[in-house]
């Protein structure tokens, strides 16, 4: 067996290489920027810098997401030991112009300059996304140079499994998949389970439309996820792990597969990791387009190669999960928080955010808003700060109408609650949920019954059909909404709709059905007049 990687030596070597050239150009090669043409920009930069003179002066590094996707392709120019310049909407020609301007004339190029002092950047706190725009996701050395795998080394060599769980408890971290269950409680349940075979599963079935934080983590920082999974397995006594990824994310699958191979080669996975007694295998499993597979029992059925239908709990997965063995399912973003928690301590993590919602949360900010992209803020940040400061407000002279969180399981929050802090409890009180982190801003041109119908169509299409309340209820609710939106609805339709909402919420088997009425209920609560107008009933303000 080959010797394990020497993390400190690799990090040292990598840091030295960093100062080999006077300039470093980091080009965002994340999916959103790629769609905006970053591939051509990166290729042009790489080709230009292969030129003899430039090669001595500049190294070009492809990186993960820098956050402000609406300004892509993004490029950063860093001077050795000095200043950083960020550029937006960088075409291949612009990229070459920028490089030459810096290298030849020591001048920046104001035409493409993106000020890093704007609130979009300064109001964020990056923990999960700390490596985005910094490391090259395809090189483990790059991850290691930024402290990668030190948390795993620390856990394996200086901590007992129980101490790891205790550290997680101290951090107060709650599940980032949406429901907000305390992570340490899940970990200790699996740790306490008595079985030779135990599984840890990373849930990367990010199905909420409008959410892409998990994809970004898997694509842009795959080793961070592997490290989190490994620490979770060590803490809980698991010997095998799966990462379940949507098939719609081919790049994430490719990157993870590659990262797993590289980690194995470096003895960061497989047998006797880092020459300790701890062994672990991680396998990637691919979904095939079923939203319900984000539900943990459905996800396990899918990993076993079956139809992804949920089942009743109990037994909970930590009692009887994959192939009957104790299994723990954590969201990708949750697991991406593990390494920083182990490195910096649970107390550090708990100092970020609010008392009950600790740490940060990543949101995919999109819709009718000036700055769209991926943001990370401390829990408890107000919606207003996110919308106005970070998001730059609603464009086109229109007014903010609602913020949608939690996708088809969440709700719409109206303008009067913009000062609400974003944490698990506050959002639930408003009839929405934290969800996985989709945050869609809607301006006053958007019809709320239309939005409710849109999400109901989604839930109807994604209902797995196993239980009647969800299978039939979503169809009926969709029909009622369609009738109302078309202007043929009656007062009775509205009553039936509200009644069905309670039935489907209370009687459905899994979270998909239970939460499917949320978009209807929340729009009925805050935008009832729009429904009333559509059915021609006089609006009563009260």
């Amino acid at each position: 067996m080959a010797a394990p990687i020497d993390l400190h030596e690799v990090a040292e070597r990598e840091r030295e290489a960093r100062f080999r050239t006077r300039w470093r150009v980091k080009a965002c090669a994340s999916t959103a920027c790629m769609s905006a043409g970053a591939g051509a920009t990166l290729a042009a930069l790489q080709e230009a810098c292969e030129d003899e003179d430039l090669a001595l002066e500049v190294q070009v590094i492809p990186t993960g997401c820098m956050g402000l996707c609406s300004a892509g392709p993004l490029v950063k120019v860093l001077r050795r030991g000095g200043d950083t310049h960020m550029y937006q909407k960088v075409t291949p020609e612009a990229g070459i112009e920028i490089v030459h301007s810096h290298v030849d004339n020591e001048q920046d190029v104001p035409a493409y300059k993106l000020d890093e002092d704007i609130p979009f950047f300064t109001s964020q706190q990056r923990v999960v996304l700390a490596n985005g725009g910094v490391i090259d996701p395809d090189r483990i050395e790059s991850y290691v140079a930024h402290g990668g795998y030190l948390a795993l080394e620390k856990a394996l060599t200086t901590m007992k499994p129980k101490q790891v769980v205790d550290e997680m408890r101290l951090s107060g971290i709650r599940g980032r998949g949406g429901a907000g269950y305390p992570v340490a409680s899940k970990w200790s349940l699996l740790a306490a389970a008595d079985d030779e075979t135990k599984y840890v599963v990373a849930n990367g079935d990010e199905g909420d439309p409008g959410a892409y934080m998990d994809r970004t983590i898997m694509e842009d920082d795959p080793h961070r996820l592997l490290e989190g999974v490994s620490i979770a397995a060590y803490a809980t006594g698991a010997t095998e792990a799966y990462i379940y990824v949507r098939a719609e994310y081919p790049r994430a699958i490719e990157r993870l597969d590659r990262a797993i191979r590289v980690a194995r080669r470096n003895r960061l996975l497989g047998r006797n990791i880092l020459d300790t007694k701890f062994s672990l295998n991680i396998e990637v499993r691919i979904g095939a387009g079923a939203f319900v597979c984000g539900e943990e029992t459905a996800l396990m059925a899918s990993i076993e190669g079956r139809r992804g239908t949920p089942r009743l709990r109990p037994p909970y997965p930590t009692e009887a999960g994959l192939w009957g063995h104790p299994t723990m399912i954590n969201n990708v973003e949750t697991l991406a928080n593990v390494a920083p928690i182990i490195n910096n301590g649970g107390e550090w993590f708990a100092s970020i955010g609010t008392d009950k919602s600790t740490g940060t949360k990543v949101f995919a900010l999109a819709g009718d808003i000036t700055n769209t992209g991926l943001i990370e803020v401390p829990m408890g940040t107000s919606l207003r700060r996110i919308v106005d400061d970070i998001g730059g407000g609603v464009p086109g002279g229109k007014a903010f109408k609602a913020a949608q969180t939690g996708g088809p399981s969440g709700g719409c929050i109206p303008a009067r609650f913009l000062d609400t802090p974003v944490d698990y409890e506050s959002l639930r009180e408003l009839g929405s949920i934290m969800g996985s982190g989709g945050l869609i801003i809607m301006d006053d041109g958007v019809s709320m019954p239309d939005v409710a119908k849109y999400f109901m169509e989604f839930s109807m299409g994604e209902s797995c059909g196993k239980c009647v309340p969800c299978r039939a209820g979503t169809v009926q609710m969709h029909n009622l909404l369609q009738r109302i939106v078309d202007g043929h609805g009656t007062r009775q339709d509205l009553r039936d709709l509200e009644h069905l909402c309670t039935v489907v919420r209370d009687a459905s088997l899994c979270g998909l059905g239970q939460a499917a009425p949320n978009p209807v209920l929340s729009t009925l609560t805050y935008f009832r007049d729009e429904y009333e107008q559509l059915i021609g009933v006089e609006v009563s303000h009260g």
């Binding site: 959103a32 769609s35 996707c69 439309p209 409008g210 892409y212 095939a288 999109a366 769209t372």
Partner: protein, 177 residues
Amino acid sequence: MSDTTTRRAAETSNRQQGHPSGDDRFELVDKHMKRGRYAQDQLIETLHVAQDVFGHLSEDVLIYVAKALRLPPSMVYGVATFYELFTFDPPGDHSCTVCTGTACFVKGADAIVQGVSTKYEVAAGQTSEDRSLTLKTARCLGSCGLAPVVVFDGVVLSHQSVESALALVAGAVGGGS
């Protein structure tokens, strides 16, 4: 070690190799199943490979996979039809996928689907009669900052409108009826 390993070990002998038709594309599917030691829990991955190889999942292919993994054809069919991404018809010459995620919805993706659907007489999820165009919708492509997004023949296009999408399709497929 684990159950997975024992289950796999028991499943490796006496496998069919190749399809009676001699179609060597089946070898690619065989190769995948063999690498997974014919584990039955590899069904979804195997169907992905088969669809990549053949473009769609025909009855013949489904039965072939069922036999190889020793699963009842009903189960293979059940799994294949459960998941959205598996398709049972050959795709058209060109494919147009409109993202209908929330951000794209807010920015008017519905009108794009409607526009293409009406002009080329093809329902979402279907292929036009002359097999020139397959129109699809996607739940969310995760490029929400670029909404509305259309993927035409694998190329992601941002900030689309009904007009730009129709022009795109017309450029590849022709005028439409």
